[in-house]
Symmetry: C2
Subunit: 151 residues, 2 copies
DNA sequence: TATTGTTATACTCTATAACTATA
DNA sequence: TATAGTTATAGAGTATAACAATA
């Protein structure tokens, strides 16, 4: 009862495109010795200065995992930590100039790497695809109380 | 020169939907103690009986990585190895009945988990989205000579 | 000689548990 | 007491290099 042709087809397309996109991101990241997660961290920090906990929540990771990720990126000089002045327990994270530069370079490389795929559509189709993806991507609720109890 | 609005929008939509899909797959997998990679392995084996090398190539992983992945899944009784009778160097991999059952259950859970997202489109939009994704997902060349030398 | 697969090794990613410091 | 973050530990995923068996 959960099956109809249109749902099957779109599910298949979405899952396959997801694997393809992830493959591209993984390859671009790997060329700079960055995992998919590190890539996401850089992307998030491009226009934010979150504390460790916020980052972890955003990525759906444990705070101890964040410590390790940030450690390694900081050791590479891509980002830095700073004690939050308002709450001395908290630690803010932000990109260094080198990190920002790399992030921008990555952005271009990802765009170029995906160009062959999106290029197989004409501009009108691209706009249409973007519009159709909108509701799929848009979360139904603004992430209210996403606790384990819910599942 | 690689920038126009339609490309930007579709790129954004594809990348965001990819992260969303991956998030769902990761959660469904995790509920059964399966990584994204293990999930893919099971999916591939659903209707195939590849040798180790083919599996590794398909997933873009090293053969040594495959050995570990298959070891762990085999230890859980989800799949099994068998010497290939025609080429005694090769090892074929295939799902056990338990593995097949789990794979089918996972398939249903993934479908259900993604239903809220795809359900935000009506059947006509779903068909349209599936059609638009087709060329994006379809590889331009049948993976001819994908050696490091190419990069 | 070349190919298939495993093993040894090392590093990253990940979570759980225990801890320190601050609120 | 509760929250923010780190550290210790353990297991999975990953690649490289060295190896054994087969082609």
């Amino acid at each position: 009862m959960t099956t109809d042709d249109s749902t099957d087809a779109v599910l298949d397309g979405l899952v396959r495109s997801a694997f393809q996109i992830m493959g591209v991101l993984t390859r671009v990241g790997a060329a700079h010795d960055l995992s998919l997660t590190q890539l996401r961290v850089l992307g998030i920090l491009r226009d934010r200065r979150p504390r460790m906990t916020d980052l972890a929540a955003f990525l759906g990771l444990d705070k101890s995992t964040m410590s390790g990720l940030i450690d390694r990126a900081e050791r590479r000089g891509l980002l830095a930590r700073d004690r939050n002045p308002d709450d001395k327990r908290a630690v803010d994270v932000f990109l260094t100039p080198a990190g920002l530069e790399l992030t921008q370079r990555l952005d271009g490389e990802i765009r170029d790497a995906l160009a062959p795929a999106t290029g197989r559509l004409d501009p009108r189709q691209r706009r249409q695809l973007a519009q159709l993806l909108e509701p799929v991507v848009t979360p139904p609720l603004p992430a209210t109380r996403r606790t384990p109890a819910q599942r």
